[in-house]
């Protein structure tokens, strides 16, 4: 097992703290139209370092913060945490789990947290590099990405091969 759980707070439609527990073997995310499944995918994409709001269907990065519904008012912060299994010690930390989080406030820039303490983006990228996680495009394929990957003038295929090189 690699990713043990995902924690969302204030990310898009996940206003309240939500914990998604994973494990070995195939996990299927299911539910009706508009319930938030693709939002979970985008939450993972965001923590993996996606910098383009358009790749998250937004115009600005602040668009990922829960902006209210019929039952709740907007919130001012979004945070997503990925918790990785480290029971085999593959990552250079003396702990059975390693957590990587990204946080954004309405006024500002993204913050990154490694095992709950604030850190540089570079440290997060090191963790990803050591765990074999490349660019978000390497880990995520959405239905809309099929046409992008097959497009004639695209650089998508080259990016993936370079990640594997």
């Amino acid at each position: 097992m690699f990713l043990t759980r995902i924690e969302l707070l204030g990310f898009k439609s996940f206003a309240d703290k939500t914990i998604c527990t994973l494990g070995d073997g195939l996990t299927a995310i299911v539910g009706p139209n508009g319930c938030g499944k693709s939002n979970v995918v985008e939450a993972i994409r965001w923590v993996l370092g996606e910098q383009r709001p358009s790749a998250l269907r937004g115009k600005a990065m602040g668009d990922v913060i829960f902006s209210g519904s019929s039952s709740l008012g907007p919130v001012s912060m979004a945070q997503v945490t990925l918790v990785f299994d480290n029971s085999r010690g593959t990552l250079p930390f003396d702990a059975p789990e390693v957590s990587v989080a990204r946080r954004i406030y309405r006024d500002g820039e993204s913050k990154y947290l490694l095992n709950m303490r604030s850190c540089m983006l570079r440290e997060i990228k090191d963790v990803f590099y050591n765990s074999g996680l490349g660019a978000p495009e390497y880990a995520i394929m959405q239905r809309e990405a099929i046409d992008v990957l097959l497009a004639n003038r695209g650089s998508e295929r080259r990016i993936l091969i370079e990640e594997a090189a």
Partner: protein, 155 residues
């Protein structure tokens, strides 16, 4: 850098041909680098010949054929260097039942080295998952709920 890319390109090309032939038995696919110039900048072209058909520009492929080609490419890359985590969002939507089954077989084959998460509306896909994460929305707020798949084989 160019030699490293060149070596990876050749191996991915072989893996892509193999994964494509598994997803579309009787079909063939290859990558090509047409034209002049450095290998690091030329267009990487995909050439596909579905079973029984002739090779045509990939724009003429059907929706399902295009989805399988894209998946074959991604999984071809994974056979060269497996991503530890792979999230697929409704990539099975254009597939018929037979292709969905072959696609799920390939996820099984790759699961030793990759943790897969798939978002799907497809009952056949759900039936082959080890766990189901249910998402619901109430009053514009999402939350997760446990899910039992009725009629699951063996239940």
């Amino acid at each position: 850098a160019r030699d490293r890319f060149s070596a990876a390109y050749e191996r991915v090309n072989d893996h892509f041909a193999a994964t494509f032939a598994t997803l579309m038995p009787g079909g063939q696919a290859r990558l090509e680098l047409p034209g002049e110039g450095s290998m690091l900048t030329r267009e990487i072209e995909i050439i596909v010949r579905p079973p029984g058909k002739r090779s045509r520009p990939i724009e003429l492929l059907s929706g399902g054929e295009r989805a399988l080609t894209a998946l074959a490419f991604l999984f071809g890359v994974y056979r060269e260097k497996a991503g530890p985590l792979c999230i697929l969002d409704e990539v099975d939507a254009p597939l018929d039942d037979a292709n969905t089954s072959r696609f799920m077989d390939m996820l099984d084959a790759l699961s030793a080295n990759t943790q897969f998460i798939i978002v799907t509306h497809n009952k056949h896909t759900m039936a082959r998952a080890v766990r189901l994460v249910g998402v619901t929305m109430e009053g514009g707020v999402s939350r997760l709920v446990p899910v039992e798949l009725k009629n699951r084989p063996g239940q």
